[in-house]
Amino acid sequence: MSLPDYGFYILCATAVLLLATQAITHPTDFLQVTIFGLTQGAIYALVALGYTMVYGIIELINFAHGDVFTLSAYIGTTVLGFFAINEGTFTTVNLIALVVVFPVVMLVMGGINVGIERVAYRPLRNAPRLAPLITAIGMSFFLEGVMFFWKGPATVHFPDILPQYSTTIGGVFFGFKDIFVVVTAAILVSLLAVFINRTKLGKAMRATAQDRDAAQLMGIDINRTIAATFFIGAVLAGAGGLIWGLYYNTVYFQLGFRSGLIAFTAAVFGGIGNIPGAALGGLLIGLIAGYSDTYIGSKWTQVVVFGILIGVLVFRPTGLLGMRVPEK
């Protein structure tokens, strides 16, 4: 145990203690905030996975990822426009629309992200480190520009097609939406875990992340593996964008910037490059943001979240579950 470790544990212990006090004095409020935080965190987790996978494999902070997340909600509204959906009450058409919109948008987003990688990142794979970072920022502006051009600067309404069912248990409000968000995210993350750990392509991804040259010598097609990483990252972000839309029912073209940064913080918090870490980090950041909104005030949430980002990096650079990455 070194001094930074002590600092880290003291900080964590203080936060937990303060929250425990709240939990005991106002249990209903606390549970309500926890549910809200978990739903928010589930979405952040889906986006954070894309950041962490891309960073793990090519060490790029993919600034465009947050905008991929937002774009998926925009495409989702268009796809849902093809159905005679019924807002407010849940019909069979809504169910069909839901079943169709998820795979379609996820695949389209995957394709778009692979295209972005092909155009903007692959040619610069051996360039100085800053070059792909700048193209990532450029792609981020480009995607924001596309959304701005498409729907304008105002917020866009996302159809509210989920069942409105809700119940109150012991004074705590549960909506169907909350459960839908958490369950969908949990299913996707489990699928990802199976994919990464059990399939051949997943193994290739892990190998490429560990040592690209060695992986190539073992006969792994690096370009294909990296493209697959971008595809999967975008598939998850696409699902995240749809869930966001279904939950909040509004999106706007610059949503991806702030929520992207928060998701990225989540990835760093869990240990960047570490997949379970990103999921955990997403949930925790969602919870922390929820608690901070309620107990500190929403105008301080951004300060708290980015303060955590700095604190984690200072006290524990490898994150909560991070692995020691050798300096290349």
């Binding site: 193209t135 480009f142 701005f148 990096l313």
Partner: protein
């Protein structure tokens, strides 16, 4: 022996030196620009005040170049130090503190505050850098990114002191320092020093920013050639090797961070005085990114290139792209399209701004990742690396 002018001043040699040529062109352009422009516009000074804002970005780019270009530390929150510099002057050079819990406005002279702002920004650079500079590579970038997000938010939140979203306005304008004022100064025809009026005349600010940039360039290029500059480059190329050579990497990096931040403090105080208004909105992530792109576009590590990059990008982002709809409308109507169609096209172009900026960034990096005028040393390195890669590729094919 009669020498020609060229021989006497060794001009050929000097012109052959690319940097000297660029600097000479820049100096001449800086002197001629206001004269020609004001004459061409019949006394209008809108372009000159635009140029004063471009100058702020030049100053920022020179400062960030120390951090990113020389020491190789990626700073994604540079606007935070800029904000700190601007607010330092805004608080102590306006009526703002009268409506704060202090209930008493403080007015400190601009010429003092510009140095105070510089030191305050440098101090914050050191405070942020001290715990984080042990981190390597991208982690530092992430910490600075977080810092850059926190600082404007803090200026929003502490609205008792900073006015928050209402911004601080009516910031004092500088006056000529007392040692310049005297019997020789004034507005008369025979006075040596004209009495620049900062309140009404953008030319005064223009002269000020050109002088500030000149000072910054001299300071930074001397730093670059100094022992410290060589240490920065050594760290940029290989930190482990630099440490093994006896360079104290932490304090050297801290100096790069602090010195880089100090220039943005300088720029911030100037900016606050020039605009007479500071708002947290002016220091968001987009500003950090724009300055970073200026540095990369110009050619990291090369001061003259960075100045050029800053000017080019400023022109593109703040003049060319916003002016595009109007130009297209004019073009369309001159071609003979009806004003309705022209209006639609102009509207579409307004909406395309983001796309154009994004595409410029991507295209620039794909076509010329080393920037407009890359530093000579870096150019050699890149060439060397690509030669090595080619050799490796040839070897691979031989082996096959």
């Amino acid at each position: 022996m009669s020498q020609t002018l060229l021989q006497r001043f060794n001009l050929r040699e000097r012109i052959r030196d690319r940097d000297t040529a660029v600097y000479s062109i820049l100096v001449i352009a800086a002197i001629l620009f206001p004269i020609v422009d004001i004459y061409a516009n019949g006394g209008g000074t809108a372009d000159v005040s635009q140029a004063t804002r471009a100058g702020t970005f030049v100053l920022l780019a020179i400062g960030l170049n120390v951090v990113v270009g020389f020491a190789g530390l990626l700073d994604l929150g540079y606007a935070a130090f800029y904000a700190i510099g601007a607010y330092t002057y805004a608080l102590f050079g306006s009526l703002q503190l009268a409506s704060s819990p202090l209930h008493h406005a403080i007015h400190v002279n601009f010429w003092i505050m510009i140095f105070v702002a510089m030191f305050v920004a440098a101090a914050f650079g050191a405070i942020l850098g001290f715990p984080t500079l042990r981190l390597r590579g991208d982690y530092l970038a992430i910490v600075t990114l977080g810092f850059g997000e926190i600082v404007p938010q803090l200026f929003y939140n502490f609205d008792q002191w900073t006015g928050g979203i209402n911004a601080i306005g009516l910031i004092d304008q500088p006056h000529l320092p007392f040692w310049v004022q005297g019997p020789w100064s004034g507005d008369g025809d025979v006075k040596v020093v004209q009495n620049f009026n900062f309140n009404t005349d953008p030319v005064a600010f223009y002269v000020l920013i050109v002088i500030l940039i000149a000072i910054a360039v001299i300071l930074v290029s001397n730093l670059y050639k100094s022992r410290l500059g060589r240490a920065w480059m050594a760290i940029r190329e290989d930190e482990v090797a630099a440490a093994a050579m006896g360079i104290n990497t932490v304090s050297t990096k801290l100096l790069a961070f602090g010195i880089g931040a100090s220039f943005s403090g300088f720029a911030g105080a100037y900016y606050a005085a020039n605009l007479a208004l500071v708002s947290p909105d002016n220091f968001l992530f987009i500003v950090s990114i724009t300055v970073l792109v200026m540095v990369v576009l110009g050619g990291m590590g090369n001061i003259s290139g960075v100045i050029l990059g800053a000017l080019v990008l400023y022109y593109v982002v703040f003049v060319l792209i916003p002016g595009l709809p109007e130009n297209i409308t004019n073009l369309a109507s001159s071609v003979g399209l009806s004003s309705d169609v022209a209006g639609t096209i102009a509207d579409a172009t307004t909406r395309l701004n983001f796309i154009i900026y994004g595409l410029i960034l991507v295209a620039m990096m794909l076509l010329r990742p080393q920037g407009i005028l890359p530093s000579r040393v870096r150019e050699q390195e890149l060439k060397h690396a690509s030669v090595q890669e080619d050799e490796a590729a040839v070897e691979m094919t031989h082996q096959e």
